[in-house]
Each structure stands twice: as C-alpha cells, then as structure tokens.
C-alpha cells in the first residue's frame, strides 16, 4: 500500500455492493459532494437475480489518504455491504460503452467508417448524413476514438461510465463487512 503521506494523486476504481433500496444512490453521491471528493465516473444497477443488491462502480481520484478515507466513509453507510478498491486489490478489467454520433458526407464519412472499423466500433444507426457508432472498451480507448471523430463531424456523445470486475476468481459478495 502506498504511504498515507504521499501527496501524489491517483485514480481509483471502487466497486460498492449495496442494498437495492430507495435513496442509496443519493447517499453515495451526497457523500462525495458533501465531502468534496471527485466522481470521474459512476454506474449503478441491480446485479443479483432477486434485485436485492446493486453494484455501484465509481472512478475517483485523490491522494492515498483521501482514497482510503472515501473507502472508509462508503463502508460506514448503513446499506453498504462491501467496498472493494479494484485498483489496489489486484488486476481488474474496466469497460465502458459509448454511443457516438458523427454527421458528415463524402470523404469525411468514409474516413469515419474506416477509423470505426479499426476500433471495432459497430454502426447501430445510419442515415445518408450520419452514423451512430457503438463502442466498448477501456476509457482511454473511447477517449481516443472520440478525439479522432472530432475532425470528422462528431456531433453528440453518450457514455455509460465504467463497469468493472476483478480479474481471475476473486469476487465481491454481500457478506458481512467488518471494519467500518
């Protein structure tokens, strides 16, 4: 673990398993805004068959001391089952989905399609003057694609925020969480 006195900023992908009850997202978001923490990305959805638990994935940034504090603050919320710092706890995969609308004709339109192919983006809607590409991948891949589209008629972007899981057999479960 990096030293708590280290003042360099790091990014952290944190997964939180919560009871799927009303107000739980407001609690998490209120915690971040009330204490002045950053939210770079946030996704939430029920993840078990019964719909009892939701998984919230948060990408945040701060010094080690701040990120440890964010985890401790999340962990003491009553409906929170467990908090997992995917960035610190070993390798993980993080993906997001983007829909990217590109408007244009002629050579620009052809070039957009060519780049989309190389990024393995799919066309999910097309007209004579536009494409909507669907792209999944790590955040930096999507950033790169959007950057390239900027000169080729980029008109609108919708991104999902990241979903993330630890690699390998490691799982996070709604088991009793200690140490809050």
């Amino acid at each position: 673990m990096p030293s708590l006195t280290d003042t360099t900023q790091r990014s952290a992908t944190i997964s939180v398993l919560v009871d799927n009850e009303s107000g739980v997202l407001a609690r998490v978001i209120g915690l971040f805004s009330g204490r002045g923490y950053n939210i770079d990305s946030l996704t939430v959805a029920p993840v078990d068959a019964a719909g009892r638990h939701s998984r919230i994935n948060i990408v945040t940034s701060g010094t080690s001391m701040v990120i440890e504090q964010i985890k401790a603050q999340l962990d003491r919320l009553v409906p929170v089952h467990c908090v997992s710092d995917l960035t610190m706890e070993g390798p993980h995969v993080a993906r997001e989905l983007a829909l990217v609308k590109v408007v244009g004709t002629g050579e620009q339109r052809v070039e957009a399609m060519r780049i989309a192919d190389s990024f393995r983006a799919r066309v999910v809607d097309t007209t004579l003057g536009s494409y909507v590409f669907e792209l999944t991948g790590a955040t930096d891949k999507i950033d790169a694609f959007i950057e390239l589209m900027r000169d080729l008629g980029l008109s609108e972007v919708s991104r999902s925020g990241i979903a993330a899981l630890a690699r390998g057999t490691r799982v996070i479960q709604a088991s009793p969480s200690l140490g809050r």
């Binding site: 009871d19 009303s22 107000g23 009330g34 001391m65 003491r76 009553v78």
Partner: protein, 592 residues
C-alpha cells in the same frame, strides 16, 4: 394478510418503541402525527414530554441519551416540525449521540405533490443523520423501528430518522419482534490481536507517552472509563481529555493534565506536541484539538482506537490503527501490557513527568479575582465556586452548557470525576443546546442536580423551554455568565479584526429575574464577588427551576488559546502571563 392485522400503524409504532425500552419521548404534535398522538393518549407505558420548539425536543433527547447511555427518542410533525429538528439531528451526528427521531409525513399518495406541511425529510436529513428511513409499507414499520434503534446505538452512535406517512400510521399493520442481526450493518467491536500487540510493544518503549481520550470512551459505557483509568494507572502515563471526553478520567487525579486543544491547558498541549508515543482513544483529531495539522505532534508514533474506521487516518496519519469498541480495546491493551515481559522505560517516564510538572507550573488557567467587596466577578471564579460548592454538597451533579466562552470556562474549571455528567455541544457548537439538554438530563435523573452553565446570548436561543421546565416541574438551574457580549465572537474580533465588535454586543437584554418569574421559575442575580456564594447557595437550595444571572467581567477573554492556524507550542497565555509572541497568520485568519 392485512385483514388479520388488528393494530394500527400508530399502535404498532408505540409497541415497537416500548419493546425497545423507550420510557420518555420528547415531541410536539401536528397534523401529520395526530394518529400517533391519539395512540399516545390511550396508553401509559411511554411518557410524552411536550417541548416548545422541535429543536429543543432533539437536544432534550440528546441530554437524556448522553446522561444515561440509552437511545433518546423524539416525535415531531412533518414539514416545519422536521426542519426545526435538523439542527439537533446534526448536533447529535457530530457528537455521536444515539437518537431515534420520528417525523410525520404527508400520506404516501401526496408525497411529491407539495402538499401542506410537506418536506423531503429523508432528503433534508440525509447528511444530518447516521441513517434515515421512509416507511412506505405497513409491513415494514415494526422492522424499521427495531432496525433504527440498532443502527442508532451500534458502532459509532448517531441519530436515525424514521419518516412516517400519515396513512402508514392510520392503516392496520403487523408486528414483528425486535431483530438481532442487521443484514449489512455489523460494526466491528473486537480489537485485532496483532494490532494490540504492536501497540503494547510501542507503548513499552515509549519515553514520552501520552493518552488522549475522547467522547468515544463515554459512548463505550462506564466500563470503558474504568478500563481507561486502569490502563492509565498501570502505565503511569499522563492523560488528557478532549472536550467531549471530560469525565472519562477523574479530573482530580494527578495523572490528569486537563483538557487539550484550542482552549486546553498548557501542559496538555505541550505534552501532545512533545510526546513520542500517543495513544488516542475514541477521539477524532478534530481541528479544535490538533491546531495546525502540519505542526501537530510531529515527532510521535500514534496509536488510534476508534469504532469508526473513517475517523482513523482522516486528518492525521497514524501508525497503529485499531478499529474497535474503546472499552474492549483498552481492556485488551491492559491485559497485553501486564502479560508482556518487555520492561517499560520508567526512568524516561520520570523525566517526562518532571518536564510536564514544569509546564504545569505555569498554571495556565490562573486568573486574578478581586476579592474586595464590590469586586467584579471573574467568570472563571464563578465556575470555580459553582464547582466547589456543588462538590461540597455531594449531590449527584450534571452540567450542560451552551456554546461560547462560558462553555470553555466550564470545561476548564469544573472538574468531572465520572463520565456522562457533562453534556455540551462539541462538534456542531450549537448555541441553545444547554437548556433543552438539561431538561432531558433532569427527566432521566429526577433527584440529581442539573445545571445549565450558559451565556446571556446563547440562553435566549431556546429560552422558550422555560415553559417546559414549568409544566413538568423540572428544577433545572440556569447559571448565566452574563458579560453582555457574544463573548467568544468578541474575543476573535479582538484578536483578528482590530477590536471592531461588529454585532456582538448583547443589546436590549431581558431582565432575567422577571423572565424567570414569568415562566413560574425563580430569578436571582449576583453583581459583585461578595454576592456570588450567596446566590449559588440560594440557587441550589431552591426547589424550582432557577435563572441565576451572574454579572461577570465584560472584558475577560478565554485563555489559554491556540489561535487558528497555530501549533500546540504556539499557545497564547492570558494577560496574567508573560507574552508568548505567537500571533495569527493570514492563513490562520481564514480558519474558523
């Protein structure tokens, strides 16, 4: 099945409260809670205390909870009833006081319609509570009440709101027995054995140790204070208390250095600054304690026991974190200390005590009282006499305070030997806390002496509660240190803003004697030092509630003081000491 349910939601609610051991509930009726008041009317198990303002209901429940260790209970109506309670809720959150606050709500089908007296209570109170609930189904009502009491009292205690739509308390509902286990909230209370061993190894090698104990020790129950005293005596270490921790270690014990922090003693703050091993128990390294963070006890290894993991490494990085109940951790530390063969450095400890005694010799709390007849009463002297006279009388005594200079003087000059005897608004600093809190304490301890040490400005913030004292014949004593200023703000204006006393003069004050009399209480006044003891004795002898208006030196300031942005070794001592040369920096001026 709804057809088989025989009791209304209101009846189920009261049954659940009774099963949770509630005997007293502080509240104020209104439209949304009428069915609950109707059910209260028809039973005798729970006593309702009618306050005069919902904020006071919450503070009264805080006083009740803090003086008994039990969960305080509040009942208010929707809309303004709930919003008036918010200050009290946040006060309880900051000071870790276990409360359950029931708020009325418009019926479920009207929620979100801007109905009469509707407020988004769960939204408004979310950052002011440990947790809150909106009951949407009758089936959930009893379970939620039981859960709320569990959450309020387990882990780091705090306030919990249950928002009750009117239809939920009118409709029939089923009862469920109190639950034992919460599905997701299971705070850790047992200390990690490895961390205890590491802590003891560190403490055995300490040359300049200090124990810094806070309100968490009070919340862990009287056994925790006993464990603290046992550990301190076994080790011979010096010990200091935070404002919230006063009473966890006997003030009369020679190992006690007094309170630390912004208005703490010279010896406590310099010992914190110069220590090599610090044992923090149930304290949270609050900015009023640490002073300038980058100068806070730089040379020490720190061990931190707290039941709330988020309090550890929040402001100050520590070397040995121990997430646990304070009492359990202290008992584990004591057992490990006694079992360890490693010798403690007794010679170094003796040298350390010699140093501390030099600091003590400064007598940083000293003041000069003119004892000639007609002499102006020093506020410190008034507290000192109040302490000495109540102590001599030997009656169980509880002290509450408002917020400001009088609060700090009370903390400095009133000695507490036991926990749960001192109720003050520490974290939020809520003026108007003391009178309603004293009400709650007196209800829990009808035969005890309960004194609200107040300022003339703070007391007016919840003065309407004199009516509640009269209605329930609560003989609370209000001891006002009247300097005709919002003294602490005035002190900062003097220190930081060129003595421009912007809006801090207490203009157009009431005649407190007549005010007391109009509320069926007894009023008395002391204006010079020769009158002081007589007034204190008359106050203590009086069978009714009393307002004692003590005219004190208007110019007196509260010292010692660590100015904002300064370090522990840059304390300002009072005018009776030689100048220390410390001042307030530009960076310090922006701090509060």
């Amino acid at each position: 099945m709804a057809a088989e349910w025989t009791q209304t939601g209101a009846e189920i609610l009261l049954r659940a409260l009774k099963d949770q051991g509630v005997e007293v509930i502080f509240g104020y009726p209104g439209g949304a809670v009428l069915p609950i008041y109707d059910a209260l009317f028809q039973q005798n198990a729970i006593r309702h205390i009618l306050v005069r303002h919902e904020q006071a209901a919450v503070h009264a429940a805080e006083g009740y909870a803090r003086s008994t260790g039990r969960v305080g209970c509040v009942l208010v109506t929707s809309g303004p009833g709930a919003t008036n309670a918010v200050t009290g809720l946040l006060d309880a959150l900051m000071d870790s006081v276990p409360l359950v606050c029931l708020t009325g709500q418009v019926p479920t089908h009207l929620i979100g319609n801007d109905a009469f007296q509707e407020a988004d209570t769960t939204g408004i109170t979310r950052p002011a509570t440990k947790h809150n609930y909106l009951v949407k189904r009758s089936e959930d009502l009893a379970r939620i009440v039981h859960e709320a009491f569990y959450v309020a009292s387990h882990g780091r205690p705090g306030p919990v709101v249950i928002d009750l739509p009117k239809d939920i308390v009118i409709n029939k509902a089923p009862y469920t027995e109190p639950t034992v286990q919460h599905v997701s909230y299971r705070p850790r209370t047992e200390p990690d054995a490895g961390a205890i061993a590491q802590a003891v190894a560190m403490l055995k090698q300490a040359k300049r140790p200090i124990i810094y104990a806070g309100g968490g020790v009070v919340n862990a129950g009287p056994e925790a204070s006993e464990a603290l005293a046992a550990f301190a005596r076994a080790t011979g270490f010096p010990i200091t208390n935070t404002l919230m921790g006063l009473g966890t270690f006997p003030a009369s014990d020679p190992q006690f250095l007094g309170m630390l922090g912004m208005h703490g003693t010279y010896e406590a703050n310099l010992a914190m600054h110069g220590c090599d091993v610090m044992l923090a128990v149930g304290a949270r390294f609050d900015d009023r304690v640490t002073g300038r963070l980058n100068a806070f006890s730089q040379g020490s290894k720190k061990i931190h026991i707290d039941i709330d993991g988020s309090s550890i490494n929040k402001n100050v990085p520590v070397d040995v974190p121990i997430v646990a109940d304070a009492g359990k951790a202290l008992n584990a530390l004591l057992a490990a200390w006694q079992a360890s063969d490693a010798p403690a450095d007794k010679a170094a400890l003796t040298t350390w005590w010699r140093q501390i005694d030099v600091w003590r010799g400064k007598d940083s709390l000293k003041f000069n009282q003119d004892m000639r007849p007609g002499g102006i009463i020093k506020p410190q002297y008034a507290i000192k006499r109040l302490y000495e006279i109540t102590k001599a009388r030997g009656k169980e005594t509880f002290i509450t305070t408002e917020v400001g200079q009088h609060q700090m003087w009370a903390a400095q000059h009133f000695g507490f030997e036991k926990p749960n005897r001192w109720m003050t608004s520490g974290g939020l600093g809520t003026m108007g806390y003391g009178l309603p809190a004293a009400m709650g304490v007196q209800l829990a301890h009808p035969d005890a002496l309960v004194i609200d040490i107040a300022g003339e400005a703070s007391i007016l913030m919840n003065i309407q509660e004199m009516g509640t004292l009269a209605q329930y014949r609560l003989p609370v004593k209000v001891f006002i240190l009247n300097n005709q200023y919002m003294g602490m703000v005035r002190q900062w204006q003097e220190l930081l803003h060129g003595s421009r006393y912007s809006e801090t003069y207490s203009n157009a004050l009431p005649d407190f004697i007549k005010l007391a009399e109009s509320f069926h209480a007894t009023g008395m006044r002391a204006t010079s030092v020769d009158e002081l003891d007589g007034v204190i004795n008359a106050m203590l002898d009086c069978p009714t509630a009393v307002i004692a208006d003590i005219a004190v030196d208007q110019a007196e300031n509260c010292f010692p003081m660590i100015p904002s942005g300064a370090a522990h070794n840059e304390m300002l001592l009072g005018p009776d000491h030689e100048p220390s040369g410390a001042g307030v920096t530009d960076a310090g001026m922006v701090l509060v």
